[in-house]
Amino acid sequence: MGRAVITLPRLGETMEEATVTEWLVAPGVVFARGDVLLEVETDKTVVEVPALQDGVLIAQLVAPGETVALDQPIAEIESEATIAVPAASTAPQAGPLPVAAASVVPSRPPGTPARAAASPVARRIARMTGASLALVPGTGRRCRITGADVVAFGGGEAATVVLLHGLFDQPKGWRDLPARLGRAGHSVLVLDLPGHGALPAVGSIAEAVAALLPHLPPGPVRLVGHSFGAVLATGLARALGARVERLVLLAPAGLGPRINADFVDGMLRAETTPALARALTLLGAGPLSDLMLQAELERLRLCRDGMAPMARLAAVDGFQQVDISADLSVIRCPITAIFGTSDGILDWRDCANLPARAAIHLVRGAGHLPHLAAPDLVAGLIGAEMSAAPVARKG
């Protein structure tokens, strides 16, 4: 606390002096910023003189009826203010305080550091991750804190989004979802299922989880799994514990008894493009060109040896072989599940077996690939609570 003197501020364009009409705060009274201390009459009108900070009025230096010139002392106060009110000894060189300006500038609690110079992207990362910009050294232009500075300081540990595709699928099957998430500021890791090309086939779900774990990045992750990939994502979520920010399940397997055997068998056995087309139709995606079917058939032929054992982990003769509901009930992170109500592979009504706290989204009319049917929704749910993604629109 320190003593200070309040001087008569300029209250009008042409004002040079004012006459005190009334004091509204008596000596010894505590006042708050914005309280009216006194009223004065200028050449134009009666004006209120508000306090610019909290304090206690020590003495009224001008009595009602007395006239006082601009910048001359009118009161002595005690306050914590570190700025603004010049002490009597320094009054001459200090300019008058513009009352209007003081009334619109929001107050900053004492001890708050000045606002750091930081690029908007640095501010966004800090906001996302809770980093304090005040502590980050800026290496940018004019010592501005850059996005890289925040990340280097450890504040940029945003979660990596990990995508796990379904049986018979491939990383390319996510289409532009990884790119979209990347544009929205996420790091994205797209994994290939064991037995589907990149990783060898394994004999159990646990082995599959163990095979995938070394590929995950350090730090927080958001796990996104489609169909059988959702089973593996659930396994990973159990293994990673608190590092998992969110589990997103797209048309997940492992929640009910049945699965469409025509699809599984068709994918494993199709030797001609019409046969493959029949199986793929069940996914509920659009028709494929002959060229694309041919390529897909070629890929399946190369990978079937690995896919077949993985498929057996999921389903035998139209019955699912795995149940993830128990695992889900012990996972702590938020769980989001998305189903298409026209799913031709799994029954969307199996969603009833999800834990009660899971958020369930139903995409009316979508098939087994809800992320292709409702890309905005899925990207939004994966990225939710990040800062708003850039707005794309048709001009």
Partner: protein, 335 residues
């Protein structure tokens, strides 16, 4: 159909020729478009092919030319009015801004004005203050007008053909410095959709947005920058209205830095508008303020050196981009 090498001028002429062959309602009207063949030779020979009722030499009455085109468009023709220099647009502003642009709206959607106003602008020929301007911002400010400024040979053809299918008035601004520019024309393959900017070069460090002749300066700058380790993405706006901002926003959010280039006097320019929109849309993704680079805020001087010095070129773009990305100031910045 395979691509052939031709010039910007030839591509526009070909577009007019093909459009006129395809649709007997397409007529050209303007000063010197017939016997003279166009002040820049764009309509050369068309009067011989289509006759004086479809390639109409008009008196020096710019407002009248555009007004006649408006009436012809209202009643079923597809006129292409030619304004010899965009600098003359002051003479036609009522017909363009109050008549062509607003008729559909004022008349409750009943009467559209499907006309194209072809004109050309820009510096490079020491044509001085009244024949060298870039006045696209005047047009961009008027709701109801579409605005197109092709930079490439292929766009010159395809955007003009597309303009001639639009139900609303299109101002099609060519650049006098591009007429002799060579490039590939593929009649079966446009550079991109109507209203959608095209990424002409990919890069990760900054996004340079340009249109018309400045695109080529920006691409040349990007080449120089690449040699210095700075990867610039260069986007060609092509159409200023309609303008799908999504590709611009996507790019700037990725690179975090943007430089918008125009040949026009900078104040109140298209670059200013684009910069403002990107500042709003990309705020959280920016590492630096969005920069604008444009013509100096002066009338265009006739002296070649002064004219050149008053508008951006590849060197200025490259040095500014480098300053923006690497913080290495160019020499002129020391002054």
């Amino acid at each position: 159909m395979s691509a052939v090498e031709t010039t910007y001028r030839e591509a526009i002429r070909q577009a007019l020729l093909d459009a006129m062959e395809a649709d007997p309602d397409v007529v050209l009207i303007g000063e010197e478009v017939g016997l003279y063949g166009g002040a820049y030779g764009v309509t050369k020979g068309l009067i011989d092919l289509f006759g004086a009722h479809r390639v109409i030499d008009a008196p020096i009455s710019e407002a009248g030319i555009v007004g006649v085109a408006v009436g012809a468009a209202m009643t079923g023709l597809r006129p292409v009015a030619e304004l010899m220099y965009v600098d003359f647009v002051g003479l036609v502003m009522d017909q363009l801004a109050n008549q062509a642009a607003k008729s559909r709206y004022m008349f409750g959607g009943q009467i559209g004005v499907p006309m194209v106003l072809r004109t050309q602008g820009g510096t490079g020929r020491s044509a001085a203050a009244q024949h060298s301007q870039s006045l696209e911002a005047w047009m961009l400010h008027i709701p109801g007008l579409r605005l197109v400024m092709p930079a490439t040979v292929n766009d010159a053809y395809h955007l003009l053909r597309a303009a001639l299918t639009q139900p609303d008035p299109v101002v099609f601004i060519e650049h006098k410095g591009l007429y002799t520019r060579k490039g590939m024309l593929d009649i079966g393959w446009p550079d991109g959709d109507w209203g959608v900017p095209v990424v002409r070069r990919s890069g990760r460090d900054l996004t340079i947005i340009a249109y018309s002749r400045m695109l080529h300066e920006a691409l040349a700058a990007a080449e120089v920058l690449a040699g210095q380790g700075v990867e610039a993405e260069v986007i060609d706006l092509r159409c200023l209205n309609p303008l799908d901002e999504a590709p611009l926003i996507e790019s700037v959010c990725r690179t975090g830095r943007a430089l918008v280039v125009t040949e026009a006097a900078l104040t109140g320019s298209v670059a200013s508008e684009i910069a403002a929109r990107l500042g709003e849309a990309c705020f959280d993704w920016l590492e630096e303020p969005i920069l604008r680079l444009g013509g100096e805020d002066i009338p265009i001087p006739v002296a070649p050196a002064l004219e050149r010095g008053s508008i951006p070129d590849a060197r200025l773009i490259a040095e500014t981009a480098r300053w923006l990305v690497t913080r290495e100031a160019p020499q002129w910045a020391a002054q």
